[in-house]
């Protein structure tokens, strides 16, 4: 398992990155943390001709507030987001999710944006992006466009990133301090990818649910927002009947497939179990 040959550039600015992408087109891949890409390259399942490393683009290493958004630059490592007071304060759902991502050593190197761009159906962060109604910032030589998460994730390992574009940042909605959020998942073992999981956040006032955002992962070809389940909660008292309705709606909405790790029925069942668990155990603000 050794990667095929490639050539390597490591520009020091976003401008240079996009010009390198413009020059190499389809042959180029972005190298950020590399924690998803390099295993595929070692197996020669990915064989880019040119790797464009963004690891020297320090301008992309930032986490900052911008209006109602928390913007995370493309070079922000998962561990830095996980331990960032800003993330904990503004996007507690993201902070809750990050310890579940990969393993400590891969979080040390892997980036938040890289995980989103990789678009693994088993990954936590795409679901978090859906639940936090994130916008992905795609930059190319032609300029910048912002894509809502629900348009960004297309299917298994496929996003709407066009050749020549790089995910330069992700802008998550800042959570209201009164919100509660949770991420729950199940795997077949400590190192294993999850076989299913749910990311959710919700708010209530005077005993009535005022907002709910729920997204599932591992239960379809791509992370999925569960709007019917949200609707079952909003306006309810979040009591057992409402939760049961949300669970039923969640199970009805997903279309999982079975694989060697879990069958489809289990994954459908699991979405409900984890949603209920989240609603009952979700961290208070």
């Amino acid at each position: 398992m050794k990667p095929a040959p490639f050539s390597f550039v490591a520009p020091e600015s976003l401008d240079e990155v996009v010009s390198a992408l413009a020059e190499h087109g389809d042959d180029a891949r972005i190298l950020a943390g590399g924690q998803s890409l390099v295993p595929l390259m070692n197996l020669r399942l990915a064989r880019p001709e040119v790797l464009v490393s963004i690891n020297r683009c320090h301008e992309l290493d930032y986490i900052r507030r911008a209006d109602d958004r928390l913007v995370v630059g493309a070079l922000v490592r998962q561990i830095d987001a996980e331990t960032s007071p800003l993330v904990r304060a503004e996007c507690p759902l993201l902070a809750a999710a990050l310890p579940h991502v990969g393993l400590p050593a891969t979080r040390n190197r892997g980036t938040v944006c890289g995980s989103l761009a990789h678009c693994d159906p088993l990954a936590e962060l795409p679901a978090v992006a859906l639940a936090l109604e994130a916008e992905l910032v795609l930059t190319s030589a032609a300029g910048e466009r912002r894509v809502p998460a629900h348009d960004f994730f297309v299917t298994d390992m496929t996003t709407c990133i066009e050749p020549g574009e790089v995910v330069s940042a992700v802008a998550f909605s800042r959570q209201d301090p009164s919100e509660r959020s949770a991420l729950h998942e199940v795997s077949n073992g400590g190192h294993a990818f999850p076989v299913g999981g749910v990311a959710l956040r919700w708010a209530s006032a005077d005993g009535v649910c005022t907002m709910a955002r729920i997204a599932a992962f591992g239960v379809g070809s791509v992370a999925q927002r569960l709007v019917d389940a949200e609707n079952a909660l909003v306006g309810s008292d979040l009591g057992s009947e409402a939760i049961a309705a949300a669970v039923a709606a969640a199970r009805a909405a997903v279309n999982p497939t079975g694989d060697i790790h879990a069958d489809a029925d289990y994954r459908r069942h699991l979405v409900g179990v984890l949603l209920e668990r989240g609603l009952l155990e979700g961290e208070a603000p």
Binding site: K2, A4, N42, L43, A105, T106
Partner: protein, 162 residues
Amino acid sequence: MSDEVQVTVTVNGRRREARLEPRRLLVDYLRHDLGLTGAHIGCEQGVCGACTVLLDGRTARSCLHFAVAVDGSDIRTVEDLADLDELHPIQEMFHQKHALQCGFCTPGFLLTTVELLERTADPDEAAIREALMNNVCRCTGYANIVDAVAEAAVELRRRSPT
């Protein structure tokens, strides 16, 4: 198309320069170019952690990095832990607690422990077990490693009380 690239890194405190093929994995550079064979190759998929090194102070899979992509970094390997006379306290506790058998995965566990105890001086068992997920051991059943890490934390706190 894969022209060699100039790389400068600091490895165990020593500046190293090389011209490398871009695809050369950091682990192969360390092992076969520098002779630092303490980092082992167990899977080249990022799962097992036998190749763990400290990259700018943090554990990293040296099988998942191209040497050229860590240009400018500071790298620390297991060979840097002990001095000629004495083992590092973490190593000593692994010895005392029988926390290694075949020893193939051990360098990775040691560096994971260095990182853990730098971040958390007094981890509880759950935190230790969580951190040790970084690495796979097929010999020990982990329990003795968990003990060794806990004892090493005590020893390190004793040596540098805060």
